[in-house]
Every structure is written in structure tokens, then in C-alpha cells.
């Protein structure tokens, strides 16, 4: 029973058609068969997962199932602390680091009865990659292993696309969930800033870091989000408003919704490749057919959002890494070191001006989206590039055509969904975003789109 979605696996467990032990064995068998080519896991917890699965099955038989995630396997990007289990951020600097406490997300997933299969590859410290000068090799794209997964949640994207786990946690500071979701052809959701606790997650840039789910379908992302969201006093940026289930809001369709289309992002600011462009146009037709009213939307050019985002990101990241860059710079991958050193030239005044710019851009975003249910635009604007090209210097600017920053600096909910395939069989993607806390609406649109298109029927041929 391989490659079930989490929703399907949950139903099968409830109906007694499978067991958690069987689901875990299936994941472990697929990892054993395929991960030597994909490198998506940096640590597989086979014994622990088997033990947890047997316990989950016993609890279910005793009528003590904890909810819809009870007995469902998942993976964690290796920046989420796990008590007693090595958490490295894919870095030589943290190779022997064993946290004493779980991150809030790991704890919540455990409390929901989900089964941790292992820790997933990431770009070093969620920024430096792909890199071949690290303790673990970079994850590769299951649709074609010569190609890049996107990053930094590279292992999460690869493992989910390959069906090695149905659910994975990613993190997104400037596109690190949406990029790999787009290049690997899965659903990746960056919830509103503050919705999911970052406590116990190795930071990249505190004012931009988001935690979020990655899965084969939008419905699976919603299922996972419901388990991990909610206020956490341990995260100073945690939202205080009560969290409402997004899973319950998935159905009902999008007829009558007003959805903005931000064309200049993918037509002028960053030019989408022709196949991606055609897929976006086809997507818009689907949304119209589903009853949405599409309206053109103009925001400041993408270059502004990107510059503002990267100045803030690397100023904050440099502050976090300043000591290690002084004392043991040789232990970073070359790409990580170069990117982190970029933050050294951001003055205090530059950082403050960038924060003021951010507020102005956020106001513009809120005013422009007023009266709209959501916006759609591109996500990854080309099929996944070759991994070897991505690993070459110069290191600072992303070489993929990525449309991420506007929804990073606004803290807005943003979803990447598969919108088709290139002639080479590589996934294409679409991005749906909304105003902060419109997470349920964004996911509902993505779910409706997935239901109306055939893209979830195709899996990588491993």
C-alpha cells in the first residue's frame, strides 16, 4: 500500500484496512530502495519509528487514537530540534548536536500520534545550498536526479515527491517551502507569520522565518497544519488570535471568489519560461471555470520586494552567525559562508531603512488586496535547473527564477501547487497567496484547483 496521501492513510487506518506498522514499513522500504539516489534523509529512525508504530497500533486497538494524524509517518527538516536525536542543520558546525528538548512542532506532531521516520536534508542552516562540501550530499529531484530540488527544504520536497513519507515539515524564510514544492511538484504551504511556532527550530532570520507543511496534496498540508498551528508562548512572534481549523474550510469551492492576478511579477519583473507561462494561463482558465472572478492586480516590482527581503534576511542571519564566521569560517560550505558574509556589509542604518521599506510594502500589499479573497501568480518560473549549475559560484543571487519575496516580507500565507509538467517531465508550479490570516481561503483555492486538474495522478518514475 505505497504512496498513500496522509488523508487516505488516515481513512485506511480508521477503517482498519491498514496499520501504522504497515505504513511505516512501506516508508522504510521505499527509503531503502530509492534514497541512495535522492539523498533526502540525513537520518532514518527505523527502529524508533517501528516501535512508535506498534505503540500507535496498540493505542488505536484500545480506542485511544489521538486524531487524524495518529499513526501517520512524517519527516522533519533537520533544523527542527528532536529530543535525544541529532539535529544538524545539515552543517559540519552542528554535526554532534543532540538537543535535549523537542521543538514545539515535533512535540505537537508526537502528541497527535504521528510517527517520525527521520530527519530530512536541508541547505546548510536553511540557506547554503545545494552544496557538495558538506557532511551530507544534497538532495536530488525525484523527477530527474540530475536536477535541483529547490531549497532550502530540499529533503522535504524530494522525500514527499518520491513517496518516501506522506508528510514533511519545511521552513520558509524567502521561499524555502514554496521553491522545493514547486520544483518537486508537491504542495507546500507557508502559513501566515506567527501561525506555527518556531520554538526549537534553528533560525535563519527571525523576522522572516516561517514553519509550514509540505505534502503531496493541499488537503494533506491542511491536515498537518491543523496539528501544528496555534499560539506558543515560547515563540515571541506567535500569533495570539485563536487558530481555526483550515481542514474544515477546504471544501465548498471557489465560485464567486474575487482573485487578483499579479501578471507583472511573471511577465515583466522576472520572465517566466514559456512552458511555465502557458501553465499559468491554463491555470487561470481553470479558476475561471470554477467560478472565480479574476481581476488584474499591480504591486511594486518584484525587485523591490526581493531587495528588501534579502537585506533584512542576511543582516539578521549575519547577526546569528557572526561568532562562528569569526572563529571557524572554514567549517561552513563555501556557498553558505559567502551568503552569510553578505550580511556583513549591511549597516545598522541600512537595516532600519529596510525595515521601514518593509512596512511601506506591507501597507501597499494590504491596500491592494483589500476586497480580494486572494491573489495568484507564478512560483518557480522555470522547471528545476541542473543541480550542478546551481552549486557553482557566484553564490549570492538565486539562479532559479523564483517569485517568493513579496509573501515572505508581508508574512502572508502562500501556497505552491503543481500546475503541470514541462516537456521534459519536470513539474511546473503556481502560487496562491492572501492577506495575513487568510490561510483557509488560500488552501481552499489550492484544493479546488487540485481537484479540478489531473496533476496529482502522476508520480515520479523512480
Amino acid at each position: 500500500m505505497d504512496m498513500l496521501t496522509a488523508v487516505a492513510a488516515s481513512r485506511a487506518l480508521v477503517a482498519g484496512r491498514t496499520s501504522s506498522a504497515a505504513l511505516v514499513e512501506d516508508c522504510l522500504a521505499r527509503i531503502a530502495a530509492h534514497d541512495q539516489h535522492l539523498n533526502s534523509f540525513v537520518l532514518v529512525l527505523a527502529d524508533e519509528a517501528r516501535r512508535a508504530a506498534r505503540a500507535a497500533d496498540r493505542a488505536r486497538k484500545a480506542g485511544r487514537a489521538r486524531g487524524l494524524l495518529h499513526g501517520i509517518p512524517f519527516g522533519l527538516k533537520d533544523i527542527y530540534d528532536t529530543a535525544g536525536i541529532r539535529t544538524t542543520a545539515h552543517s559540519r558546525l552542528l554535526l554532534d548536536r543532540v538537543p535535549q528538548r523537542d521543538s514545539t512542532v515535533a512535540r505537537k506532531l508526537g502528541e497527535a500520534g504521528a510517527i517520525l521516520i527521520g530527519k530530512l536534508a536541508t541547505h546548510e542552516f536553511a540557506t547554503g545550498g545545494p552544496a557538495f562540501d558538506l557532511p551530507f550530499p544534497p538532495a536530488r529531484n525525484p523527477w530527474n536526479i540530475a536536477h535541483f530540488t529547490g531549497g532550502s527544504s530540499s529533503g522535504s520536497g524530494a522525500a514527499v515527491a518520491a513517496g518516501l513519507v506522506p508528510l514533511a515539515m519545511g521552513s520558509d524564510t524567502s521561499g524555502s517551502i514554496r521553491g522545493p514544492a514547486g520544483y518537486c511538484g508537491i504542495a507546500g504551504f507557508k502559513p501566515t507569520y506567527g501561525t506555527v511556532s518556531r520554538s526549537g527550530v534553528i533560525p535563519l532570520a527571525n523576522s522572516l522565518d516561517h514553519c509550514g507543511p509540505m505534502a503531496w496534496t493541499v488537503a494533506d498540508c491542511a491536515l498537518m497544519l491543523d496539528a501544528i498551528a496555534g499560539h506558543d508562548p515560547a515563540d515571541p512572534a506567535a500569533a495570539t488570535r485563536p487558530y481555526k481549523s483550515v481542514r474544515r474550510g477546504l471544501t465548498g469551492g471557489i465560485a464567486g471568489m474575487r482573485i487578483g492576478v499579479i501578471r507583472h511579477f511573471f511577465e515583466r519583473d522576472i520572465e517566466a519560461d514559456p512552458q511555465t507561462l502557458a501553465a499559468i494561463e491554463a491555470t487561470l482558465k481553470v479558476l475561471r471555470k470554477l467560478g472565480a472572478k479574476l481581476v488584474p492586480v499591480t504591486l511594486p516590482p518584484h525587485q523591490d520586494w526581493d531587495a528588501c527581503c534579502r537585506v533584512i534576511l542576511y543582516a539578521e542571519a549575519y547577526a546569528i552567525h557572526e561568532r562562528d564566521l569569526a572563529e571557524r569560517p572554514e567549517q561552513y560550505a563555501a556557498i553558505t559562508r559567502a551568503r552569510l558574509f553578505s550580511g556583513q556589509v549591511v549597516s545598522a542604518a541600512d537595516y532600519v531603512q529596510a525595515l521601514r521599506w518593509r512596512r511601506a510594502l506591507c501597507r501597499n500589499y494590504a491596500e491592494t488586496l483589500d476586497g480580494l479573497d486572494a491573489v495568484v501568480t507564478g512560483c518557480t518560473l522555470n522547471p528545476a535547473p541542473l543541480i550542478d549549475e546551481m552549486a557553482k559560484p557566484p553564490f549570492f543571487s538565486p539562479k532559479g527564477r523564483l517569485l517568493m519575496a513579496p509573501f515572505s516580507i508581508t508574512g502572508a500565507p502562500a501556497l505552491s501547487v503543481c500546475s503541470g509538467f514541462s516537456t521534459d517531465g519536470l513539474p511546473l508550479s503556481l502560487q496562491i497567496a492572501g492577506l495575513p490570516f487568510a490561510d483557509a481561503t488560500v488552501l481552499r483555492i489550492g484544493h479546488a484547483y487540485e481537484q479540478a486538474t489531473p496533476w496529482r495522478e502522476r508520480r515520479p518514475a523512480l
Binding site: 523576522s207 488570535r241 569569526a326 559562508r337 550580511g343 525595515l355 512596512r359 553564490f395 508574512g411
Partner: protein, 54 residues
Amino acid sequence: MTKQSGPTLDHLDDESRRQAEQAQAAMRELIALIPHHFTYADELDLVFLPDHAG
């Protein structure tokens, strides 16, 4: 009291230093895009605080 010395590119090998300098040059180009038209009235907007209340 002397301040402990911070990170420096001087300790890197030639290739690493060149890569870091390239990244810093790219960052300076981004910094140049930051608008400087903000006024005193904008001072209250310094901190990123999403609307989490209510």
C-alpha cells in the same frame, strides 16, 4: 576593555575571499535600492509587527 575581533575575510583562502566579496558586492547593489524618502513620521513603523491581535 577591548572588543573581540569580528569576522574578517582576511582569514579566508583566496577563493573563499573572492566568493564572499562577490556576495558583498551583490548585497551593496541591493542596499542601493532601498528608498531613503522616509520622514520623521515614519519612525513609528520601524518594527515588523504583523496584526496578531484580535
